[in-house]
Each structure stands twice: as structure tokens, then as C-alpha cells.
Amino acid sequence: MSPTKRPKERIGVYVCHCGSNIAGVVDVAEVSAWAGKELEQDGVVVARDYKFMCSSLGQELIERDIKEKGLTRVVVAACSPHLHEPTFRAACARAGVNPYLFEMTNIREQDSWVTTDKIEATKKAKALIAAAVGRVAYQKPLESLYVPIDPNVLVVGGGVTGIQAALEIANSGQHVYLVEREPSIGGHMAQFDKTFPTLDCSACILTPKMFDAGNHKNITLLTWSEVEKVEGYIGNFTVTIRKRARYIDESLCTGCGVCWEKCPKKVVDPVFEAGLGYRKAVYVPFPQAVPKYPVIDRENCTYYLKGTCKACEKFCPTGAIKFDQQDEILTVKVGNIILATGYDLFDARKIPNYGYGRLPNVFTSLEFERMTNAAGPTLGKVVLRDGVTQPKSVAIIHCVGSRDKNYNNYCSGICCMQSLKFAHLVKEKTGGEVYQFYIDMRTPGKTYDEFYQRIIQEGANMIRGKVAEITDTARHPSEEGKLIVQVEDTLVGKQRRIPVDMVVLSAGLEARADAKEVAQKFGISCSADDWFIERHPKLDPVATMTDGVFVAGACQGPKDIPASVAQGAAAAARVLSIIGQGEIEIEAATAIVDEATCVGCKECIASCPYQAIQYLEDKGKAYVQEALCKGCGTCVGTCLPKSISLKHFTDEQIVAEMIGAMQTMKSFETVEAA
């Protein structure tokens, strides 16, 4: 029966009733009696059934048998190993049997719950137990490997999430490298004037955090920088960072602002001003920027384009302008990584019938944010595209590009609240009419619905319906010179055309355009919508499938500031808990090469998803770096002479398991034939 000579082991088999969950369908007494008798020649010395194997009494049963009957291997037939494998492994360990000498087979989720015929279910349980018994004798004790944790941490993205995470970690005394691609940290939040639901001033609450992050002794702030390469594994990442040339000597620059005052080149700022305002070719995106040093935008700088100008250099009082500065490549070592790269705004141009880009007085939400910002391009005045006229009526359209099968199917989460915030700001700043066009109103946060009530009180018109079109073609003299919002008002049950002066599109949140590339760089995955995937949506929301890489904030999915900050702090806590352990246990079931037989063909090396296998030039053999190996076994499936094997899933074990099941099924046939 065995693939090679079967090791002599003393095996205990335990069949769980799980109350009536299993026993109601599978004849557990019959199964355990059968195992005790029929599997005796395979080493089974005791087989029992018990009401609840996972209870402390059930576990004690195993522990007692290990001690009294000298069991060397244990098989439990019960629920899914995803539920109770750790429970029984621990019980074995307590009684002195290595946890990897335990095997669990699933006769509940994969038998009693899915099989109608009781006799068939009982037979299936026998086959599954025979399979487990078949394999368990070949199992080998494994010891977990521990690797030390480098206490330094990399945080990628300096929005409110990344700042929060960096501060939490830095305050605990660990060192953080905070890498931000833009010239300043702050992210989207820095663009806003007021934040829902409290309407407190965004800058007032964010700037102090930005300042702390910029001046913390435990934070190395690398703005205008990007991560190029990540190598290694939890505890031991080596990260290559490109610090792009600012063309400014940071040690000389005082941030006085003379350079951008004197720079003659005005450029539309598509990032921070969302295209609504201008900046210079040498610039800081906003006055409270951290760090205070400007960058020269090489693409637009007259000197780089035409070879002359250098106005900034002439006027800089400290001689900090350095036109010949080069990108710097830094290599840092960290033990953990937090990704907080945020989101992009849905491009409203993709919905042509909303007219963004064609109809001048259709604005995006981010444009509107900049408009209401006292430090923004209109100095906080709500005005039409001409820059002077105050609108008398404003339409705010919800769910632009969200909850729409043609664009993004999901709810962007923040737009209802953000639209209500806009309604308030319009009322406050212009006193004009506000129309909200919504599909459903979603205000599930703390004090969010109260905010909604308040906006209704303030007199916003709420119209339930998905806007079909925004047009400037008047059908009636009263529509002349207006933007007309065409909608089916589902509360009144009729089509309406509402003329307004200004339309604001509450565009949804999307994953960053480069999310896939970033995910690949850090070895994590993206959902179908390109949001980073967390390890578990409920129970492990900030970890990822890659140990040591965490995600927080809007890069994991649409969320507002409170949720982003909470995730930033949560990711920091996870990282600090790992650092606190000093070392971390890594996968024990890793691959291993038998050097004596390996022919050095490199096939396994090419097939490993984690580049965990090295080629030893001197020996001409493959070698698995245990700390990198995740135990998938792809290499084993590849190797032709079978010189590489995966611990705990060896060919021997799998074949023995398969044979156990096959032989039992065949034995039923013989019985039936007889």
C-alpha cells in the first residue's frame, strides 16, 4: 500500500461527532471501529469517537492517549482544518508530539454537511480517514524558523494616513522612512478647506501633523521620491529609493520663497490645484508645504527648455539653486512596510453627457474643494469659470462614476458626505440655491446623519434620481444661459429639468493609476478594481498576504479621513507589535533541495513566484532561501528528477494520502461485488 517502506508509527484516530453535525449523518461509532480494525496494519493503535473533539475534554483525550499509549502520530476527523488545525496541533505539542505530526481530515464541511445518503457519507469519512492515516506516518517533525526584525519601517505615501502611521511609529521610538512622491506631504486632505462632518478647517488639523512628521527626530522624510525596488522579506527588506533632483540644495534653502516669486513661468497646477489654479516652474504646492523646500519642474522651467532664465538662481539669497543636481539613489534597510498611497479621483471626462471639460461651469469635486479653500486660486470665493460671477444656483451630482456598471460598480463611500459639505459651503458662501442629485443617501458614520439633517435644515433641495444629462441647450426662455440638469425625480415620479448656474460633479474615488505596478513592486495583489487587497476583509484589514507589508487608508478602498487615520494607526500598531517580538516565526513547511541529486537545471528557479531559489555557481546546484520561501510547492511541481521537495507536502505524503483514499474506495467495491 505504501509508496516506500512505511515507517512504523503509533497512530491515534479521533472521530468527532460535532454534536449532531457529523454524527447525525456519519455513523461515527462505526467509522472509529472500522479505523481501529481495518487501519491497524497501517499503524492505528487507538481509534475513538467523541462528542466534541475541540472541547478541552476532547483535547485532553488526545493528550492522555499520547502519554499513556505512546502515540507518535495523531489524526482527527472533524471540521475544516481551517478552523481547528491550530487547536489540535497545540494539544499534540502540549503532550510532546511535534505539531507537524498531526493531520486533520474534514468530515463535516466536506462530508456530513454535503452528503444526503448516510451510508455514502460514512464510507466517505472512512476513505478520508484512511487517506489521513496514510499520509501521517510519513510526516516529519518541523521546527519553525525565526528571523530577527529590523526595527526600521518604510511608509510609502505621505497623505493623512501615511503621516498618522509614521508618527505613531516614530513616537514609539522606532525609525521611519516616509517616502512621498509629490514635493510635499499632505495628500488630498491638504487640498480641502473644511472637512465633514465637523466642518473643522482641514489645514488647522493637518498642518500640525505635517509639521511633526517633517521635524521628528525619528522620521527621515523623503519627498519628491519614489521606491524603485524592494528585495527581501519580513524583517529584512532592502529598499531602493530614488530621490529625484529638486535642483535645490536643501542644506542652503531657507524656504524664503524668493525663487517662486521671481520665476517668470506660470504653469497650470494639475495636481494640487486640480487644474483650477497656477503655480510657478519653481514651486512649493502650497504655503504650508512640508518640507518647505521648493522643486524646479524641469519640464516647464524656461532654463531647461530654452537655456536661459535662471531668475531663481539670481535672486536666491543663499545660492541654493543647483541646476546640475542629480537624482540620488538611496538604499535603506527596513523590517516592515506600510503602503498608504491613497486614491485618484475618477476622471469625469469619461462621462460625456455630464459635459465636464466641454461645459465651462461644470466643476469636479476637487476643483470645488480648491475653490472653497481660502488659500486656493479664488481665495475661497465660489465663482464661475470666469473667476468673478457668483452662481445663484448650484447643482451637486452624487455618484459620478460610482455605482455605475459602465464605470465603477462600487460605492465611493465619501461622496454623499462630501456633497452635503459642499451644499453647506455654497449656502455659507453664496446664499444661493443648492440642488443635490443622489441615488441613495449614505451617511453611516458617527454624527454623519445628523450632518445630513442639518444640511436639509439649511435648505438644500434634495432630488432623488440619477442625472441623465447636463446640457446648455435651452428649451425654454427660463433655461437661457443656464446649465440644465435633466433627471428622473424618483420621489415625485417625473422627469425634471433644473436650470442652474454651476454644476459640481462628486466624482468617485479610484485606485491610483499605477496601483498595479506598485502592488507588484511590493509583492501584494490588487482587487479587480485595483484596490490593494488586505489579508482578511474583516479580521485582518491592514495586513496583506505578504508578511511585513501592510496597507492603510484609501489605497485599500474608498474611505474618509477618520477611517484612513484609524487604519494608519492600526497598521502602525501591527508593525510595532512585530518589532516588539524582536524576531518572527516564518513558514516551516518550506522547500528544500537535495544537493546530491539536483542537476542544476535551474527550472525551479525560474518557476518560483518569490525568487526564493538561488543558483550556487560553485556547486552548480539550486538552493532555497528558507526565509523567502512561502511554501507553495510550485518548484516541486516543476523539478523533473524530483530533487526539490516541499516539507509537509512531500510526494511521499501526498501519494500515501491518495493511496489511502483510493484503496478504501476500492475495498468498498470488492465488498459490494462479493
Binding site: D111, S525, G633, M665
Partner: protein, 135 residues
Amino acid sequence: MYEPKIIGFLCNWCSYRGADTAGMARMKYPPNVKIIRVPCSGRISPELVLRTFREGADGVMVLGCHIGDCHYSTGNHRTAKRMPVLKKLLEYSGIESERLYINWVSAAEGEKFATVIKDFTEQISALPPFVETMK
């Protein structure tokens, strides 16, 4: 009629959990498939499948995570390349290639799992027992 003997190699992260999901929803399906849990569908070498046939299995299933969802990122890409070749070899050797079944079942797809098991069991029942081929 005979009761086909089928071995299913299921990856631990998606398909095995998909089978659990079917169980939690109490979906019913035939008992013929005996599941063997492996870390990733990429672990399944052609030799393991062939050995299973040699043991007299009437059908073999290899189920993994959907392409793009493999717990080990791209382990199943190798499955998607190896297994079709093995199916071809079965065909060229005169063995019904439908005896080897490859599909992707996520942890959430309990219903798909149950359907896949039902359909495959039926499909195999329509073929003669593999022992006939081995004669």
C-alpha cells in the same frame, strides 16, 4: 452503473475553502470526490496526477484559485500551463482527456464548487471505469 472513484487536488487557500463554503451552506453533491489538500495548485506535478490514475482513479480534479488570485501570486500560472499539456498527453495516449479536470474555484464560490463536483462526477460516470483502460 458504477461509482466513479475521483481524487480532487485542491489548493488550501481558495478551492479548499470554497469546498468548506459549500459545506457551510449545506449544499449537496455526490460523495465520489475525495479531496487532497495541497498548498497551491502549482504543487501538483504531472507525476502525481499520473500516479493517481495508475492507482485506478476514474477521474482527477485539480482546482486552484482563479488566475490572479493565487495565494502565492502566480503558482497557478504554472498549473495553467502544465495541466493542459498533460490533458493533451492523455488524449494522444488514447485516454479520455476529460478524465482530468482543471478549474478555478474561489473561497466564496461554494455554489460553483458543488456544481463543478456534480458535473464532473456525472461526466466521469458516463465513461467506462478506468480499470478497463488499464487492461
